[in-house]
């Protein structure tokens, strides 16, 4: 009995020792504090909504980072897949399917389209591939805006019933805060999954494919497989983002999934940091949070100017993304400490 307990505590201990989990969980816990602030009236519902959007779009941008940062591929069709996640979930829910099944079906369908793009990318590259993904995005958008079952401007989703027994509604603030916690939990899970992915054989192969196709092939990396993996994962992340949108907002517009949104998601990766998981969140915060939480309050319509300047300035001065700022600070900090210790040892010598 004791050994089992001992074993168990050891495992729990080991779990937190593996600092990967610890860091992401702490990060998630910190973001989950935001609804608490809402609870105590420190921030309003609008602000909570903006944070929720940051969380949702982070998941989308993480997927795009797998494409842009690791695989050297680009997609201008991201918005179409976020739309697919939100609208697909809505349509299947309205057809009476349970939430989990609705989400799963949506993700599978989107993944299949992602796989098609992956195939396509073997023949078409560069700007042609980028615009081909824009075609896909546009086709999806046309379907959303035209097709009957989506019923016009918006589909209502309403309360979500999780696991068949507990229902959460976006309306009373208490339940909305709970929804917020759920989407943050999903974001953290996606972050951890991405962390594992990029530090594995798969992540290395993606990098090899984008940095040196010749070397990758000579080492046995099948370009087809990894293009597929790259596009399918990016699509799944984007669609999961869309599902989270459906979960939190509980309705889905049919017209919002335009090129602009796709470009903003790219901007989050570029501005936050290629290949960086925390950087992606930072990018989402800079691109969506700063304008809406700070600039809009201060400047209204004109705030776009500042966002634009911000994007350009970050790109010019932090080509590896704003997350670099943190690394610089850390390096600087370490250097400072190093200097101190060497000074001390000088004295003792």
């Amino acid at each position: 009995m004791l050994t089992i307990l001992d074993n168990f505590t050891k495992r729990v201990h080991g779990f937190f020792q593996g600092h990967v989990y610890r860091n992401y969980l702490l990060f998630g816990a910190a973001v989950m504090m935001i609804p608490l602030m809402h609870n105590f009236g420190i921030i309003g519902s609008g602000t909570l909504g903006i944070w929720a959007y940051i969380v949702i779009i982070t998941v989308v941008a993480l997927g795009l980072n797998i494409l842009l940062g690791f695989s050297g591929l680009i997609s201008l069709g991201t918005a179409g897949f976020v739309g697919a996640g939100a609208l697909g979930t809505g349509v299947f829910l309205n057809m009476g399917l349970p939430f989990e099944l609705a989400a799963l079906l949506t993700i599978l369908i989107a993944a299949a389209i992602g796989a098609l793009i992956g195939f396509f990318s073997l023949r078409v590259e560069g700007i042609y591939l980028a615009i081909a993904t824009l075609f896909v995005g546009e086709i999806l958008r046309q379907i959303y805006t035209q097709i009957e079952i989506f019923g016009g401007q918006m589909i209502n989703i309403g309360a979500i019933r999780f696991l068949g027994f507990f229902t959460l509604n976006a309306n009373p603030p208490s339940e909305r805060r709970f929804l917020f916690v759920i989407i943050v939990a999903v974001m953290v899970l996606m972050m951890i999954a991405m962390h594992h992915l990029v530090h594995s054989k798969t992540g290395r192969a993606l990098l090899a494919m984008s940095r040196s196709q010749a070397a990758a092939q000579a080492m046995g990396v099948s370009i087809l497989s990894y293009r597929l993996i790259a596009f399918v994962t990016a699509t799944v992340f984007a669609t999961v983002g869309g599902v989270l949108y459906a979960v939190y907002i509980q309705n889905a517009p049919t017209t919002a999934w335009t090129l602009d949104l796709s470009l903003f998601v790219i901007a989050m990766v570029v501005v936050g940091g290629f290949k960086s998981i925390y950087g992606t969140f930072l990018g989402a915060f800079i691109i969506h949070g700063i304008p809406n939480l700070i600039l809009a309050e201060l400047f209204g319509d004109v705030s776009y100017i500042f966002s634009g300047v911000l994007i350009i300035v970050v790109i010019l001065f932090y080509p590896y993304g704003a997350i670099q700022v943190f690394y610089d600070v850390r390096k600087w900090f370490h250097k400072g400490r190093l200097k101190l210790t060497t000074k001390r040892s000088d004295r003792s010598a």
Binding site: V124, I266, G308
Partner: protein
């Protein structure tokens, strides 16, 4: 037949507008190596300038168009000097996002200068003037747009093909580093390209303005079609995107009229995707050579 004739001229007109925008995009793609997502908004911004002068001072449409062309020139030069040139060494993906930054700046500037209301803008030749062909009315304005665009593009091709400056542009487009070493003024070439592209975009915007009025997303459709035209025609030539533009205009107009208003675009886009699968560098494009 009447419908056919109407669609035919209509497609020639939209094709010309798409072609102007596409030419602007390919010009910048070739000389600055970036996809300029701001092409549409640069046009929009200067269309605002024209509409503003027209409404505010009641100036003639031709005069305000000239003013807009002049401000377009300035916009191009300013964007190139202040933003694009400092970003020369930035990686290609980030560089595209720089143009997103430009979009946002322009979107912010529009309400600041021109307010939030859409502005009306008339056609160059009032729509009551036209002739009857097989039952369809051919407006002189349509003729004007087609003739001016074709003439302008013809002049540009001649210029690119037969003048020293055109040569410099072609050389810069094919290899900037080498051109710089050979003494080609690549900086000026890029600057003039941005200015020219801005003018082309502004003309396109002024041409669509009467039907969609001047408002921030007036160029959405044109810009998207221009990208598609570039892909269909191939970005490695200047003529490709122009041909692509006319094909897309015709295909979209005719499929949405004869097949389905709803599924026409979807059909056209899907066919282009299939086409691209077999000709990945567009109609006129060539595969760039690379060695292991």
């Amino acid at each position: 037949m009447t419908e056919f004739v109407r669609l035919f001229f209509n497609s020639l007109q939209t094709g010309s507008i798409f072609a102007l925008a596409a030419l602007g995009i390919v010009l910048i793609f070739r000389t600055s190596r970036t996809t300029n997502f701001a092409q549409g908004l640069i046009g929009t911004f200067n269309a605002y300038v024209a509409a503003y002068f027209l409404l505010r001072f009641g100036w003639n449409v031709w005069l305000v168009a000239l003013i807009a062309i002049f401000t377009a020139f300035l916009t191009g030069v300013i964007i190139d000097t202040l933003i694009i040139r400092p970003a020369a060494k930035v990686n290609p993906i980030s560089k595209q996002i720089v143009t997103l930054g430009i979009i946002m700046i322009l979107v912010g500037l529009i309400p600041f200068f021109f307010g939030v209301q859409p502005l009306l803008f008339p056609s160059f030749i009032p729509s009551r003037f036209g002739i009857d062909i097989l039952g369809a009315t051919l407006r002189y304005n349509t003729v004007f747009i087609i003739v001016l665009s074709v003439a302008l593009m013809g002049a540009m091709f001649w210029f690119i093909q037969y003048t020293r400056w055109g040569l410099a542009t072609r050389v810069t487009a094919s290899n900037e580093t080498t051109s710089k070493l050979m003494g080609v003024p690549t900086k000026s070439v890029t600057m003039v390209s941005w200015a020219t592209a801005a003018i082309l975009g502004t003309l396109a915007a002024l041409f669509v303005a009467p039907s969609v009025s001047v408002q921030p997303n007036m160029m959405l459709n044109v810009q998207l079609s221009a990208f598609f035209a570039g892909t269909l025609g191939g970005f490695s030539t200047f003529i490709g995107p122009v041909v692509g533009a006319y094909i897309i205009a015709f295909a979209r107009n005719f499929t949405s009229f004869y097949i389905s208003d709803i599924w026409g675009n979807v059909l056209v886009y899907s066919s282009i995707l299939v086409f691209l699968y077999f000709k990945p560098y567009g109609l006129f494009g060539k595969k760039p050579t690379k060695k292991v």
